[in-house]
């Protein structure tokens, strides 16, 4: 079997730009350059047309009105804009309490933390061990002054899908602005914003085969949601977000979302088949634990803990496959994944987790190679592991008193 290594199984960190997307983008950085805000000459007009066409495509994927789509530099900015923008706008009338979840992306958590420094209060809900939110606990967290709730659609580490409709309905009943980070959801789950009770939704291109550096925020028009701008300047994007728009990147996001709309169904079937194959293969290894609910989960994600093996050495061992242990955004630190800890996983299992994320260009050969590699490397590392040896000797590691460092 010959496959080209390293095999890329880190589609949740970022996806390759689809060649069809790149092809569409390139003319806009070479021939049709121009500042879309320059209204006085056709260089600007062509750019503006392309931007509006892309806005239509983004809107179509999520069944929204193009006028509800605001361009940003990515999901981090969308999340910051939505959370700080809505919280600041509505705090005067509704109050200063925010509800979010411990397993949100850092961009959401840190934006809420920033608001706390400005006098807001926040509840960080703990998810159930399967990663999903208990709706009753969500209801219980609501206070009279709750202004905003932010819950992600699809978790970046464990791929679980929250019940956005149910949570949104609760928010509606309680007059709470509801923001959803959908960076990991586009092209993976159906999103219909005509039906979903969601006020603000964050998107980015580079998790859906588009370029990095571009994202969007959905801002509902009916009923109209207002946000306070966080970036001020030329008054682009109807005053909600200033700064020169990168035309080629917007065009890329539009094309990426168009392709996602057309190909999502077929792609999900293919990806699910590969994911199930991977899971079946890895489950042949002893002492593996899947993190997160398997039923309410996108097929693209498989997050597994390999007991008695340390995470970083595991990553080193599997350098022929590009995967991540914990979220890409936190892997610079040596902390075990905060998402897995929020699920109640032990530090050891959190440390030894690997996120395999499968995508458009993954092949069956890639999966088979990965299974074989994991079996051999896990075997080798366990041979090295004093914990595995103790486990085989029947020692209950939770009862051992460690000479903690």
């Amino acid at each position: 079997m010959t496959v080209k290594t390293p095999i890329y199984l880190d589609y949740s960190a970022t996806t390759p730009v689809d060649p069809r997307v790149a092809e569409k983008m390139i003319p806009y950085i070479t021939e049709h350059f121009g500042n879309p805000a320059s209204r006085s000459h056709p260089f600007g007009w062509t750019a503006e047309e392309a931007v509006e066409e892309a806005r239509d495509e983004v809107a179509k994927l999520v069944n929204a009105d193009p006028r509800e789509i605001v361009w940003t530099s990515g999901a981090t900015e969308s999340n910051n804009l939505a959370i700080k923008g809505a919280a600041n706008f509505y705090s005067g009338t509704k109050g200063k309490h925010i509800i979010t979840v411990q397993t949100e992306h850092k961009a959401v958590i840190d934006a809420v933390r920033d608001l706390e420094r400005q006098g807001f209060t926040a509840t960080y809900l703990a998810p159930e061990p399967n990663g999903l939110i208990d709706l009753e606990k969500f209801k219980a967290a609501i206070q009279p002054d709750t202004v905003l709730a932010s819950v992600m659609f699809v978790n970046n580490e464990i791929g679980v899908i929250q019940d956005i409709t149910a949570i949104g309905n609760i928010c509606r009943e309680n007059n709470i602005i509801f923001h959803v980070d959908a960076a990991q959801a586009t092209g993976k789950v159906e999103i219909d914003l005509e039906k979903l009770p969601v006020d603000l939704m964050s998107f980015c291109a580079h998790k859906t085969y588009g370029p990095k550096g571009i994202g969007a925020l959905y801002v509902r028009r009916k009923p109209r949601i207002r946000i306070e701008a966080q970036m001020h300047g030329g008054g682009h994007e109807r005053g909600m977000r200033s700064g020169t728009l990168a035309t080629h990147q917007i065009v890329g996001m539009g094309e990426a979302f168009r392709l996602a709309r057309l190909e999502m169904k077929a792609e999900n079937l293919k990806v699910r088949r590969l994911r199930d194959r991977l899971l079946a293969g890895l489950e042949e290894i002893d002492e593996v634990y899947v993190n997160g609910d398997m039923d309410h989960r996108v097929p693209h994600n498989l997050n597994i803990s390999f007991n008695f093996v340390e995470g970083e050495s595991l990553i080193m061992a599997v350098k022929d496959i590009a995967v991540s242990s914990g979220s890409a955004c936190t892997s610079a630190s040596l902390e075990p994944s905060y998402v897995l800890r929020a699920l109640g996983r032990s530090d050891e299992l959190a440390h030894s987790s690997i996120r395999f994320s499968i995508g458009r260009f993954t092949t069956e050969e890639d999966i088979d190679y990965t299974i074989a590699l994991m079996k051999s490397k896990i075997g080798k590392l366990r041979e090295l592991s004093p914990l595995w040896e103790m486990h085989l000797d029947g020692i209950d590691l939770s009862k051992v008193e460690w000479a903690a460092h």
Binding site: L384, S385, W402
Partner: protein
């Protein structure tokens, strides 16, 4: 993170992996670290009758640098007396393996493992 060639070599081809009989009076066992911290090192040394370390084995749960640090010290320990063994400093390990600052704790752990193994052995020997 870029690993040095020496770390990679020890990681790919760890020396002296294994287990000695911990009940053997000539064997000292040191186990340091904790799973929750991401590193557990088990180091064992076996001395001959003249007090020279004639064998050393390790098992390590930890990152590449932790594995390399423990693999390296098993090589260094052989042929040393217990007193010489106790003199091995983490800085020497870190230097030999060119560990980056964030991995210095791996060399500290290896030094601690040696000390723990020596102490264990000494505790077994008649006073």
């Amino acid at each position: 993170m870029a690993y040095s060639d020496k770390v990679l070599d020890h990681y790919e081809n760890p020396r002296n992996v294994g287990t000695l009989d911990k009940n053997d009076p000539h064997v000292g066992t040191g186990m340091v670290g904790a799973p929750a911290c991401g590193d557990v090192m088990k180091l064992q040394i076996k001395v001959n009758d003249s007090g020279i370390i004639e064998d050393a084995k390790f098992k390590t749960y930890g990152c590449g640098s932790a594995i390399a640090s423990s693999s390296l010290v098993t090589e260094w320990l052989k042929g040393k007396t217990l007193d010489q063994a106790a003199e091995i400093k983490n800085s020497a390990i870190a230097e030999e393996l060119a560990l980056p600052p964030v991995k210095i704790h791996c060399s500290v752990l290896a030094e601690d493992a040696i000390k723990a193994a020596v102490a264990d052995l000494k505790s077994k020997q008649p006073a």
